[in-house]
């Protein structure tokens, strides 16, 4: 679903953000991306969202090379992704309902579809009763759930959460990741960028550790490489993900058939009439349906 082939990114100011990163994330996976501030996690996410383009290497999403992506097709790529931000990015003057509906309006959904879909998704994140509240009337955890609902509402294949627990009380962090886990269990690929190691350990999922622009660890057991130190010894801390896969027989593929995934989406109350009517999108390349990326670090902090 998401594949990085020898991707390097150097910013115009000379910062080497990523070095020769190769990585593959399959459909339906749940992946934590961990690493210290400035390790390259943000760049990683920006490359997936095509906010930045790699200096070298290739990124393939759902079989489409991003280097071949035309500028006007970028929005259609992003419709396959739902983004959850550390700072929630909710619009203060809008109600919870409108905040979630905003994402649907932005892609031209009909009012009828919005009215049906938004309450459903808010119910999913447990905020049906707060639909008419403004964001500042909600707790941090609730605001993040609104943000999650907004990421989910267009039924993306990937959810990308950028430090989703960064501004949330620790006890609620667990709840957020739990929610992402549930979403993942319905077939959506989930990427969570975080530096909260405790959380990562709890959830026993695939962990990709990035340090100094390199992937220094890729494990499946909730373990992560303790990078960021000069004397870091790769053999001690990391397991090569591909080796691991071979050894354990893990294929990276969940046991979902396409039909099952489709069913689970219908279960989300999503209207398929969009696809029928979306003739304008017919010429757009096909991208993953369910990627969610959760960023971990924020440039402002580092």
């Amino acid at each position: 679903m998401i594949e990085f082939q020898n991707v390097s990114k150097t910013y115009p100011n000379g910062t080497h953000a990523l070095h020769d990163v190769s990585l593959s994330i399959d459909k339906g996976e749940f992946v934590f991306i961990v690493g210290a501030s400035g390790a390259g996690k943000s760049t990683f996410l920006k490359l997936i969202m095509h906010e930045e383009t790699p200096t070298s290497g290739e990124i393939i999403i759902n079989g489409n090379k991003l280097s071949k992506l035309r500028r006007r097709d970028v929005p259609y790529l992003r419709r396959h992704m739902g983004i959850v931000f550390q700072d929630f990015r909710l619009i203060e003057k809008m109600t919870v309902f409108d905040n979630v509906a905003f994402a649907m309006r932005a892609v031209g959904e009909s009012t009828a579809t919005i009215k049906k879909r938004v309450p459903y998704v808010l119910n999913l994140v447990g905020l049906k009763d707060k639909m008419k509240n403004k964001p500042n009337e909600l707790s941090g955890g609730e605001q993040q759930r609104v943000s999650l609902a907004r990421a989910l509402v267009n039924n993306p294949e990937i959810i990308i959460a950028d430090e989703p627990t960064g501004n949330v009380d620790p006890e609620l962090s667990h709840e957020i990741i739990e929610l992402l886990n549930e979403i993942n269990s319905m077939g959506t690929t989930v990427l969570v960028v975080t530096h909260e190691h405790e959380l990562v350990r709890e959830f026993n999922q695939r962990v990709v550790t990035i340090d100094h622009g390199k992937v220094i660890g890729d494990t499946r057991s909730g373990r992560f490489a303790t990078g960021a130190s000069e004397d870091y010894d790769e053999d001690d801390y990391s397991i090569d993900y591909n080796e691991y896969r071979e050894e354990s027989g893990y294929t990276g593929e969940r046991e979902y058939s396409d039909d099952e995934i489709l069913e689970s989406y219908e279960g989300l109350g999503y209207d398929d009439d969009v696809d029928e009517a979306g003739t304008a999108e017919d010429d757009a390349p096909q991208y993953p349906d369910n990627v969610v990326i959760v960023p971990d670090d924020d440039d402002r902090l580092g």
Binding site: E51, R105, G108, D299
Partner: protein, 301 residues
């Protein structure tokens, strides 16, 4: 396009939520439109005047002083012999005097009644106006014709045309300058709205809104500003035009201004097209920058 209604509504909201800047834009655009309109109406009126004067195939030929009316009639016969002259009607100094008295009032003329200063004249009608100059030259050579006093309407028409084209050049310069200023002010107004909504723009882009979708409310904002300006300017120009028209008509009854009601549909249509176009361009120019940016760049983080 699905969601079009929503985007249009957002555009109207933009105008209102940023009303101080919107009013500034509207005012500048109105001035621009009124000046453009006034210059255009002036040109049209001058053109009409030139047409009336230039296309009238009559000209007045004065007879030299000291010629009796009988002698004058003979001069008239000579004039009629000139090729291209269709007719030469004798217009006596008494007739001319009465004509002036009826237009300008009794009080002035009753005092000089016994010493009428006006000459006898002929009203000459020509067949072909394009030979005007030749014909006049021939008439001027006729004995008894006062060569200096032939009222050369062509000169008058030429003068008017020159003034008219000067006004046109001047107004094109002023209007282009104002056009640039309006565009700049509107673009800035919309940029201000955009800045206050940059957060929403960044979210729209992150959820996959197409550029045309992000752009639409701002184009609508510009066009609404243009439309409001056009409506107000159409009304305001009516007042200006009628005011000027009254002053001019009082001073000089010979010329009829084109009534505003005749030109109203054209003025309204031209203003609307012009205003909406300027607004559209303003919106288009100012959103360009934002469309190229991504994510946090939009927020300036």
């Amino acid at each position: 396009m699905k969601g079009f209604g929503y985007l249009v509504k957002e555009g109207f909201k933009n105008v209102w939520s940023n009303r101080i800047m919107s009013i500034a834009s509207v005012c500048v655009l109105i001035s621009c439109l009124i000046l453009t309109g006034a210059a255009a109406l002036f040109s049209i009126n001058v053109a009409k005047m030139v047409d009336e004067v230039g296309e009238s195939n009559e000209t007045i030929v004065y007879i030299k002083e000291g010629y009796s009316q009988l002698e004058a009639v003979y001069v008239g016969k000579e004039i009629e012999k000139v090729p291209n002259v269709a007719s030469a009607r004798f217009y006596s100094k008494e007739e001319a005097f009465e004509q002036y008295r009826s237009t300008l009032g009794d009080s002035l003329f009753s005092r000089i009644e016994d010493r009428n200063p006006l000459p006898d004249s002929f009203i000459v009608v020509m067949h072909d106006l394009s030979q005007y100059d030749d014909t006049v030259a021939q008439i001027q050579k006729i004995e008894g014709v006062d060569p200096d006093t032939i009222l050369n309407r062509k000169d008058f028409a030429d003068k008017l045309t020159r003034i008219s084209s000067l006004v046109t050049i001047f107004s094109i310069a002023v209007v282009s300058a104002l056009l640039v200023i309006s565009l700049f002010i509107i673009a800035n107004t919309i940029r201000a709205t955009m800045y206050s909504r940059r957060f929403e723009i960044s979210i729209m882009k992150s959820v996959g809104a197409t550029n045309s979708f992000v752009r639409m409310p701002f184009l609508v904002e510009g066009m609404v500003i243009g439309l409001i300006s056009a409506l107000i300017a159409t009304g305001a120009l009516a007042l200006v035009y009628q005011g000027v028209g009254m002053v001019v008509e009082n001073a000089q009854s010979m010329f009829d201004f084109i009534p505003y009601i005749d030109v109203l549909p054209y003025v309204a249509a031209a203003f609307t097209v012009f205003g909406v176009f300027v607004g559209f361009c303003g919106g288009f120019l100012s959103i360009r920058k934002y469309l190229k940016m991504e994510g946090n760049e939009i927020l300036g983080w």
